[in-house]
């Protein structure tokens, strides 16, 4: 039982960052270096706790604010980059951050920041997930969400229809990064350590996989994806390498055959069960 609670909480913390990444991807910003934005939260909250002795209740909000500012600043600096260029820039950032952070002594250098005050209770973590999900759900459903989708689909067209694309990109990336920072801060307080390698390519890639495999067309996608990909390897018990091979196969499958991801396939399945007869009827009509 304890084991499954651990897995469940790990998935919850990762899902918070995945939801933030979902919003960013939705606005057309393919962030393949999300671990860095997660790390901002972990290091800010952790360092404040270690050096000033402040409790997590105070440092986590500061970390979230820092995450927003860092994300918005990064997005503002890279507004001119699209698609591949943005993806490659974030990827390079993620790799550079590992060695860069390792040089900063005040946050523990290459060995990582240790002695971070603990916050291991399940309630704040679940509350953070619920708040993040609700916020993302609300944003996605609002007219702002429509504007985000329009920007992600076709930036020029969105601009023609009066969407303030640049402002929107910066804000959405900031909000996504704030969510990432929340996730990182919770992670830091849960384990008491934060290491430079947490910012690296591997963590970034996994978050990207959670969103894509879960589905990037609905807020349920990152949630379903993260929990599915956390629970599946524990149920099947395979080596980490085999696990990543399966993740890679899922990425291929989603890219080629099911662009709405696991969550999309699931909701389609429910629709088919509910409206199976209607569909058959439609097919009948279309014959004539």
């Amino acid at each position: 039982m304890d084991f499954w609670l651990t897995v469940f909480l790990s998935a919850s913390i990762a899902a918070i960052a995945a939801i933030g990444l979902f919003l960013q991807i939705r606005s057309g910003q393919m962030n393949v270096g999300m671990a860095v934005f997660v790390g901002v939260g972990g290091y800010v909250s952790g360092a404040l706790g270690v050096h000033l002795g402040l409790p997590p209740a105070l440092t986590v909000p500061v970390a979230v604010a820092a995450g927003f500012l860092f994300g918005a600043a990064f997005s503002a600096l890279t507004l001119r980059l699209h698609h591949w260029f943005f993806a490659v820039t974030t990827l390079t950032l993620s790799v550079a951050a590992v060695s860069g952070v390792g040089r900063i002594g005040i946050i523990g250098g290459a060995l990582g920041l240790t002695g971070i005050p603990f916050l291991t209770h399940a309630v704040p973590i679940l509350a953070a997930l619920v708040v993040t999900f609700s916020l993302a759900w609300w944003i996605d459903r609002s007219t702002v969400g429509l504007a985000i989708r329009a920007t992600g689909d076709d930036e020029v067209l969105a601009q023609v229809f009066g969407v303030r694309v640049r402002l929107l990109r910066v804000l959405v990336f900031g909000i996504g990064s704030a969510m990432a920072a929340l996730s990182g801060a919770l992670h830091a307080h849960r384990f008491g350590v934060y290491q430079p390698s947490d910012l690296g390519f591997h963590t970034s890639l996994l978050l990207f996989v959670y969103v894509i495999v879960g589905g990037k067309t609905s807020v349920w996608g990152p949630l379903v994806g993260t929990f599915f990909l956390h629970l599946m390897p524990e149920l099947v018990k395979i080596s980490p390498e085999a696990e990543l091979i399966v993740f890679g196969l899922l990425m291929l499958l989603v890219a080629v055959a099911m662009p709405d991801g696991v969550a999309g396939a699931f909701s389609k399945g429910i629709q088919m069960l509910r409206g199976g007869r209607n569909r058959a009827g439609e097919a009948e009509i279309s014959k004539f």
Binding site: V98, L252, A255
Partner: protein, 290 residues
């Protein structure tokens, strides 16, 4: 000391340039990035490791590596890149990005599963340093840079002067018009993928030869350097990619000399940001590039 490091940087950039031209050729002809491209180098290197340990002599070992690398590249093209051409707009860009990231994960981890997720010694090594005019030069890197230079010149001639090169450029400019003119665009694309895979495979062998070891995850740093070199050089331009690679080699060498070896990656990122801030199209802008 600095001159010595800069020399090493230029020599190391030969391998980066081989990756960069592969990325840029595929991007030029299809408008997509093959995120599994650098992992083809892993395939080639490990095919050689396996073949030699299985008792093959060098020539068959290289043949095995060539067959494995080209075969896998064609599978990746067929499964992860070609389906993207069905889509339009954003989906046409996203689909291959996601699919080739997936393909790369599969290649890396299958290699890790078979050979272990660790550094493995390459059977052929040239670790010795030779003294040229007072500079110590790694024999392997010198040969790598020489091979890279020869390959790049051959590639430039192939793309610029031959009829196959003309077909590549036609498909890169406008696939529909190329098709109307009677060019088999699919064949040209497949041939280009095979060509870049061969270059990546050679680069993988050169990495093993120069540094003495290979690893399942070694494609990732080379992918990043190749991609950054392509972008700062100007996407779609072969000379730009080479220029970008040399720039990265030099910047890395300077960062190592002045700031220590851990700062290498940070310096590469800083150069990327700086170039994108000043010239978003890269140092050599190509009007035809997508």
């Amino acid at each position: 000391m600095l001159l010595q490091q800069l020399l090493n940087g230029v020599l190391a950039s030969g391998i980066y340039a081989l990756f960069a031209v592969g990325f840029t050729m595929i991007f030029g002809i299809m408008g997509v990035l093959n995120m599994a491209h650098a992992d083809l180098a892993v395939v080639a290197a490990f095919a050689i490791v396996w073949a030699v340990s299985a008792g093959f002599t060098p020539l068959p070992a290289v043949l095995i590596a060539v067959v494995a690398t080209l075969g896998l590249a064609l599978v990746v093209e067929r499964l992860a890149m070609r389906p993207g051409r069905r889509f339009k707009g954003e989906a046409a860009i996203e689909m291959p990005l996601i699919a080739t990231i997936g393909a790369g994960m599969i290649i890396q981890n299958v290699a890790a599963l078979i050979f272990g997720n660790k550094v493995i010694f390459f059977p052929w090594q040239l670790p010795a340093f030779i003294n040229i005019g007072g500079f110590l030069v790694s024999q392997g890197l010198l040969i790598s840079a020489g091979v890279a230079l020869a390959l790049l010149v051959a590639l430039e001639i192939l793309v610029d002067r031959t009829s196959f090169g003309r077909q590549i450029r036609a498909v890169a400019q406008n696939p529909t018009a190329a098709k109307i003119m009677g060019i088999d665009t699919n064949l040209v694309i497949v041939a280009t993928v095979a060509l870049t895979a061969a270059i990546a495979g050679i680069a993988g062998g050169l990495v093993g030869l120069s540094y003495g070891f290979v690893a399942p995850m070694m494609g990732i740093p080379y992918a990043i350097k190749g991609l950054v070199a392509m972008i700062i050089g100007g996407v779609g331009s072969l000379r730009g990619a080479v220029l970008g690679a040399v720039l990265i080699g030099l910047v890395e060498a300077m960062a190592v000399t002045w700031l220590g070896s851990q700062v290498k990656d940070v310096a590469v990122f800083a150069v990327l940001l700086a170039v994108l801030a000043v010239k978003p199209g890269g140092l050599i802008a190509t009007p035809g590039a997508r």
